[in-house]
Amino acid sequence: MLRRLSIVLFAFVFAAPSFAQEARTIDQLDGTFSFAKYQGALSVHYSHLWKIGKSKKLALGVGGRITSYLGANQYYITAPAKITSGSSSPFVIFKENIDENIDSLLIQSPQVTMINVSINIEYQITSKFTAGFNIDAIGFSFGGEQSANYINGFTGKITDARPTAFNALLISDNDHGSLNSELFVKFKLNSKWSVRTGAQFLFTEYTTETDVQQYPEPNDRFRRKSLLFGLGVNYQLQ
């Protein structure tokens, strides 16, 4: 669902400047702390949005986000769609996972920092409340090498892994690298400050030093999809 919404959003964002000539803009900075069991993330997000439509309640835009993810003893699973679903076509979103193709990588202290370009949509519900969605589209990640335990049924290997360097939003498991997305509501405190809460759906990805997975084909990429509860603040720059 989030992926489909992001495709629509992506199309809108690139059309937005043509609407924007007569529209007002929003420049804002968000800081969010999000967490779930044994994992958390801190993100700082700048976004520039164009208000569109007659009522100017809908806004679309682009931004940039830094997210730093930290976890303890987290399981990652086989990442490439070609292996998880047997296909890398755009229609992979409609395919079921092939369970026997999916192996695990247990990472003791995953730590990934990602810098990504984001696409954003917001809707002003009332004068105080605004709801929105944003998703990372492209960027890069970095982080230290970690010891990892590759588990395939009753066999395994101890290996090293690093965050996958290049990030790109594609479709479903065709995504590459580490990407954050967020569904949020914010409450306006005054003309500059708001508080915000919502859910972050964060993908982090590690690449092992060798192709530890061999069936059904060699693979070194493993992904974790984390659903995190987020709390944060928003500051209006203009």
Partner: protein
């Protein structure tokens, strides 16, 4: 703001439940008789990384199946303890034999996958979730 901080702290406390520990003695002791079984290899457990452990690991073949028997065995407790049979000291390639049944007492594990036991000269007790080795028995 105080309410937000309270909610945050409460969530963290709820999220940090302790892991289930391994039983002290085996809950379902095996009744397999190894009197006529072939002992393939044997080794003594030593504690690793400051953990205490002692006992003996013996690999057996019996009626086409392969087993590891800990008899006797004793080690420190910990979360998510697993028994690995590996090709080297660092367990870079291993067979996951199963969850450690208990931290004391005789215990029997059937080895999955019918491996060539000559390729696996180490038994490890490994805290899988935290990637910490508790005990190791080099087999000869």
């Amino acid at each position: 703001m105080k309410t937000l901080i309270c909610i945050l702290l409460l969530s963290l406390v709820i999220a940090c439940n302790p892991e289930d520990a391994t039983p002290i003695t085996p809950t379902n002791p095996s009744d397999i008789d190894f009197t006529n079984a072939v002992a393939v290899k044997e080794g003594m457990f030593v504690g690793i990384g400051g953990h205490t452990a002692s006992g003996t690991a013996i690999l057996y073949e019996l009626s086409g199946k392969k087993y590891i028997v800990f008899d006797p065995y004793s080690s420190q407790n910990g979360p998510d303890l697993k028994v690995y049979l590996s090709k080297d000291e660092k367990a870079t390639e291993y067979i996951r034999v199963g969850k450690l049944m208990a931290v004391t007492g005789r215990q029997v594990y059937e080895i999955p996958g019918n491996p060539d036991l000559s390729q696996y000269p180490f038994v490890h007790v490994w805290c899988e979730k935290f990637s910490v080795e508790f005990a190791r028995a080099p087999l000869m």
